[in-house]
């Protein structure tokens, strides 16, 4: 139990003291998670829209596959990405292994089905009358997409926040693709894994708190988007 208390104290110390390794990990985490969130939202919103708005044959099967993708273990995704970007892999030339870019790719794959699935199920809930109203007001396809997404913005916020939580906390991809290289690809979560591995539970807790703080700040600044 003591290490929890110690962890709290340590968390404050780490941030105040400006400990380089902590701060580089913080930056790495923020960079990759932001990047992967932007990508996955950019791809996931339109896909989720298509899946939720239209009725077509095989839609149900597509949903089942998407739901299954929600259960891709991070290590599995990490291994798959590794296979592609390892020096001998098909994209080895790009030198993405052990880089933040590599991690961001993996995390995008992780977040995409979450954004898509939750967006789709939110869009599915949209009133039929709303769709009809848009069409009768002369909305084209692009407007229908944007207006629909805006109409269910709270649901999409939930999708984004859930995906963000997933991306922020994943270890498997960061470890496998990033390699947990100090000052380079070490993120907070891989750092936590490392400290915990070393038995420095208090340090693990401290870093965990730092991560939670990041999430808190992000969510706080998003909360103005919430329903009043």
């Amino acid at each position: 139990m003591d290490f929890i208390v110690a962890g709290f104290i340590k968390a404050i110390e780490l941030l105040i003291s400006g400990d380089t390794s902590t701060w580089t990990a913080v930056w790495a985490t923020i960079k990759v998670s932001t990047c992967s969130m932007l990508l996955s939202i950019g791809a996931g919103l339109p896909c989720g829209f298509l899946l939720g708005y239209f009725d077509f044959k095989g839609k149900k099967h597509l949903r089942t596959i998407l739901d299954t993708m929600l259960a891709f273990p991070t290590v599995f995704i990490g291994l798959m990405v590794y296979a592609f970007i390892s020096r001998q892999g098909p994209m080895g030339e790009l030198g993405l292994l052990f880089t933040l870019t590599g991690i961001a790719i993996g995390q995008t794959i992780l977040a995409f089905p979450i954004v898509t699935a939750i967006t789709a199920s939110t869009i599915e809930n949209i009133d039929h009358d709303f769709k009809l109203t848009l069409v009768t007001l002369g909305a084209g396809k692009r407007h229908i997409i944007t207006t629909c997404l805006w109409e269910v913005r709270f649901g999409i916020l939930a999708a984004a926040v859930t995906a963000y939580g997933r991306v922020l906390t994943e270890v498997g991809i960061s470890m496998m693709v990033g390699g947990n290289i100090k000052y380079h690809t070490r993120t907070i979560t891989t750092a936590i894994a490392l400290e915990t591995n070393k038995g420095l539970f208090a340090d693990g807790i401290a870093l965990g708190l730092v991560l939670i703080m990041i999430a808190f700040i992000v969510n706080l600044s998003l909360s103005f988007l919430r329903k009043q």
Binding site: T136, L137, G138, E151
Partner: protein
């Protein structure tokens, strides 16, 4: 009529929900600048027809010609020109202002937006200052309906389709909506099709009335329709007549239909006579006693629409003021309706 003057031409339209046919229109033309009223009981297919006319849905079979060309949903030539006020108007989760401005914004037509919204609100009798900033849910039922109407009017569309525009709207606003609709036709030549259960209002605005019953259209306007059950035993039980018995003992005799599938009978207004007393030697003539329930003025034609209640059936007749003042008709007065069993059409 040249092709240009015909806004809509529906050809062999059939529409199905699942396996149920809900619309069957062999041929229907709607002239440019006309105001067409749709009359029909619940579930007769009015909203479905309006959705087809709005190109919000594709008919299961058949084609809709718009200005002489077959058009389909999302066709850019109709998309921004035809607009429909749906039966359950839906407001976007935004302010009233944003709701009304939405259509213009997607048309990238943002000049004088504020003033135009203000004007549109005024047209439906809502005060810009009080309402523009309100959120979508801060409105009463009728106010929401009127905001939706304003969102359509501001677009100045070529075709304005209105599905029950005055359900839950107060009398004064109904008048405003009537005025605005007429103005749309007069000012920019809009073609209007309006479905409503308020017959007086509908007659006061439309040039032509179409009656819909079970997906079929009667282009002669409102007609009296009697639905089954019908019994075989006529006065002469020769199989050539059917009867409908009313609970108060009165009997309506009707010529039997040719086809077995018919379930309702139309008795056209022109075939019904009204008087104060029964004729003695009536033969097969139906003479039904009832009383006048209401008399409404069709403003444009100086004709009075009278609703006569025969037990639980309602008949509608169109009378001139001469006819009325001659026999001094007024609501509550007992009258006799007469029509011949042969003057019926089965559907």
């Amino acid at each position: 009529m040249t092709q240009k003057e015909i806004t809509y031409h529906l050809k062999d339209i059939q529409h199905y929900y699942g396996n149920t046919k809900v619309l069957d229109i062999a041929d229907l033309k709607i002239k440019k600048g006309s105001i067409t009223g749709l009359i029909g009981p619940n579930g007769s297919g009015k909203s479905t027809l309006l959705k087809l006319l709005a190109f919000a849905q594709k008919p299961t079979r058949g084609n809709i010609f718009y200005k002489g060309r077959i058009e389909l949903p999302f066709s850019p030539t109709v998309r921004s020109k035809v607009t429909l006020l749906t039966q359950k108007p839906y407001l976007l989760k935004r302010t009233v202002f944003e709701n009304i401005a939405y259509g213009l914004k997607i048309r990238k037509d943002k000049k004088h937006l504020k003033e135009r919204v203000k004007k549109a609100l005024l047209t439906v009798g809502l005060d810009d200052q009080k309402f523009a900033v309100r959120k979508w849910h801060e409105l009463s039922g009728g106010e929401a309906q009127r905001v939706s109407m304003a969102a359509r009017l501001i677009l100045k569309p070529e075709v304005l389709l209105l599905d029950e525009p005055i359900a839950s709207v107060d009398t004064e606003s109904a008048g405003l909506i009537r005025k605005a609709s007429l103005k749309a036709r007069d000012n920019w030549g809009a073609t209007l099709v309006i479905a409503s259960h308020d017959l007086q209002w509908l007659y006061s605005i439309s040039d032509r009335q179409l009656s819909i019953f079970k997906g079929n259209i009667f282009s002669t306007g409102l007609e009296n329709i009697i639905t089954g059950p019908f019994l075989k035993s006529g006065i002469k039980s020769d199989g050539k007549t059917l009867v409908k018995k009313l609970d108060d003992g009165q009997i309506i005799t009707l010529k039997a239909p040719g086809k077995k599938t018919c379930t309702a009978v139309v008795i056209r207004k022109k075939n019904i006579a009204i008087s104060l007393e029964k004729q003695l030697d009536n033969g097969l003539l139906n003479q039904l006693s009832g009383h006048i329930v209401s008399m409404l003025l069709e403003e444009k034609k100086e004709i009075i629409m009278a609703t006569i209640s025969i037990h639980n059936l309602a008949f509608i007749l169109r009378l001139t003021s001469d006819q009325i003042s001659r026999i001094n008709l007024y609501p509550g007065k007992k009258v006799i309706l007469k029509f011949h069993p042969n003057d019926v059409e089965w559907i």
